[in-house]
Amino acid sequence: MLTMRDTHTAFDTCHPSVPATYFAAIILIAIFAMQPVCVCVSLAGGLAFSFAARGWRRTLGGLRWQLPVVALVAVANPLFSASGSTLAAQLGSVAIYQESIAYGACAGVLLVATILWFEDAACVLTQDRLLQLGARALPTVTLVTSMAAQLVPQLMRRSQTVRTATLASTAAAPEGSRERGIRVADQLMSWSMEDSIERSDAMRARGWGAMDRRSCYLQDPFRTSDALALLGIALLAAASALLVYVACSQWHFYPTMPRLVAWWGYLPYAALTLLPTVLDLAQRVRWGRLS
């Protein structure tokens, strides 16, 4: 969340409102589309972009805990909700139905797909781009966010330093780990307080509070191409949302599930979910490194 843009990927050259709108739309649709084909499309899109933008190592690392979540929800659901009509198994007095397992699996996939989309969004909408979105309207909020973003890593580094200091001098070795924790926290607190005094001096020396209204360095380079991209995404998202709504309204898990059929109506949604991956791949192809 606090890292700078380290990947060059989809929407790199757009105004940040374009990826922001895209991810808002895709996450909204993904949350409400509780239908087997739709959740699979959403998962496929989220995974594909995660591989493309975040790399296979981080994606697989995430799947290590995400796949068990799917399995867990799929198993847990039929134990708690005994609905459905096709008996799959009987555990003592508990009846387990196929429909219930399908519902659980579907919910698990939906959950993981949504998490993936959030991770993808965080990868594209880095902090500096989010700031650019809010900078004009909320300059002070932007500044506070910016300050916090530099203080957190500093605090982490310092806690390491303080820990080293207390561990390295034998006379300082505290009796228990709880006491050590308190001492480290105490030390960090006084260090940060002291720093904040000097920082506020540095801020006032540079005219903090001199004017009622601060100006903002970031420009708002919203161009026609951004407007067109936004319009395209909005249209595609609206069409997908409508068709996904139709698909969901014709689907039900209980008491029995209808047969899934091939339907053109899934195509716009698939196109929407695969859009950033396609953009990313196109960039890679252009730079001649498909690997």
């Binding site: 300082a172 105490d186 004017m211």
Partner: protein, 475 residues
């Protein structure tokens, strides 16, 4: 016209419970810095240099009773509006860590101009020109948290200059930097002075590196300020280790087991990182003072942390016979200061290390800390904090004392006191390992110097031999 002028200025801090009638810090000070000058305000730690400087910037001036007038370009600074003040007088502080406000370099550069409500085109132009002047384009989009101390201090200077002040005040701007970063910083400050015509006033206790660029010097002593020649100002602040027995004259216990030894030590911070130490061998003889020198990032601090056992080597053997009685002084003294007063701070480890009030009183007297016994350690200057931290580790009488840049931020007087105490430890047969850039200190206290380069020890020699054969280092 004078860029900065003090006319009969006196200043007294407000009375406190511990000091009901404080004596004035500055008495009838009159001085004038002409426009375009590069002026040095020298004096020992705590002599009132910072107070003098801050009085020219009412936004950060200390509270107290001020008599007389402080004029910037002929106008009393107290009559300047805060916008005028920010555009006329810039102030750069000591600590590279605490004066950075924003998370990215570009935001930090723009911060001051945003505060003044500068129109966007004008602001972007000023930021761009300042960056070009400083050659900061390669790191313009980087995070400030990932910059080195030298880069952060350079950024603080650039961010202040982006507001285009005509007078720039700097309060010990390089005392937290290593010599290489200090040179870079001063070179840039000099260019700002000569090419941009900014009047520069630097408060410092170590004017030597600025001798060639400065145009005039003042000395603050006992509340009075006098103008003196650059040579005199540098000499008055020079470190003269009188009374410190030169280490190489003493007889060291030889042949015994080393106090610390590294054999074929390999270390890196993560699997993908480069090796910091590559098969390093080093012995710290028992009862001697061993100094480590080397460039930035040569692994000095890493080596010290391995010596203390807070890091573990991936390969090789580190033998630490004194693991049960050791002390480590980090580069940032704040990491071990937490009590409310200096006295409490020094008593904090008394139970674990078996010393008492008497020893604390004696140590405070020896380091000249009696005057600040009742003050909060974090309110003290950087140099005084360093002394308190040093006193704190020294009171534990460790068999092995590990020091990281012990003289950073210290004035000559404090350096001499430190050297004496290190010598005393050695006479008691205790071992000291220290990493430093300060060769004058090394030649005053150390028995041997090891040069660290490319992850290994390049040579180990006596300090006089080392200096005689060195192309780069001078005492």
């Amino acid at each position: 016209m004078n860029a900065l002028e003090y006319a009969d200025v006196s200043f007294t801090y407000p009375a406190t419970d511990t000091e009901p009638s404080p004596s004035p810090v500055l008495e009838h000070v009159s001085l004038a810095v002409p426009e375009g000058a590069f002026a040095l305000i020298t004096g020992s730690t705590g002599s009132g240099k910072s107070t003098l400087l801050r009085l020219a910037k009412p936004e950060v001036a200390p509270t107290g009773t001020l008599g007389g007038n402080v004029l910037a370009f002929g106008r009393d600074v107290r009559t300047l509006s805060s916008v005028e003040s920010a555009q006329t007088v810039g102030l750069v502080f000591q600590s590279p860590d605490s004066q950075i406000v924003c998370d990215t370099v570009w935001h930090e550069m723009a911060f001051g101009l945003e505060n003044l409500g500068t129109p966007v085109p004008e602001m972007r132009r000023r930021v761009a020109e300042t960056c070009m002047f400083f050659g900061m384009e390669p790191w313009f989009r980087r995070q400030t948290a990932n910059l080195s101390g030298g880069q952060r201090q350079m950024l603080a200077l650039a961010a202040t200059l982006a507001m285009r002040p005509r007078l720039l005040l700097l309060d010990e701007p390089t005392s937290m930097l290593d010599p290489v970063a200090e040179k870079d910083f001063l070179a840039m400050l000099f260019r700002a002075n000569r090419e941009l015509g900014v009047t520069v006033v630097v408060a410092t206790h170590a004017p030597e590196p600025m001798r060639d660029v400065a145009t005039c010097a003042f000395r603050v002593e006992d509340g009075h300020v006098r103008e003196l020649s650059l040579g005199e100002a540098v000499d008055a602040c020079a470190f003269r280790p009188d009374g410190v027995v030169s280490a190489s004259e003493g007889v060291a216990a030889s042949g015994s087991k080393p106090a610390l030894s590294f054999r074929d030590t390999w270390f890196r911070y993560s699997r993908d990182a480069d090796w910091v130490l590559r098969g390093l061998d080093l012995e710290v003889p028992e009862g001697e003072v061993t100094a480590l020198v080397g460039g930035n990032g040569s692994g000095k601090t890493t080596l010290l942390q391995l010596a203390c056992g807070t890091l573990a080597a991936q390969r090789g053997r580190v033998s630490r016979p004194h693991a049960a009685s050791q002390a480590y002084l980090l580069q940032s003294p704040r990491a071990i200061l937490s009590a409310q007063t200096v006295r409490e701070e020094l008593l904090l480890w008394s139970n674990g290390a078996g010393y008492g009030e008497a020893e604390v009183a004696e140590m405070m007297e020896r380091l000249g800390l009696e005057g600040v016994a009742a003050r909060n350690p974090l309110d003290l200057s950087g140099g005084q904090q360093q002394l308190v931290a040093f006193a704190k580790v020294l009171l534990t009488r460790p068999d092995l004392l590990v020091l990281d840049e012990p003289t950073k931020g210290l004035d000559a007087v404090a350096c001499t006191k430190l050297a004496r105490l290190v010598q005393e430890l050695r006479e008691e047969g205790r071992s000291v390992l220290l990493a430093t850039h300060d060769l004058a200190f090394v030649s005053a206290v150390a028995d041997s110097v090891s040069l660290l380069f490319d992850g290994g020890v390049t040579c180990t020699e006596r300090p006089d031999e080392f200096l005689a054969g060195s192309w780069l280092y001078h005492a």
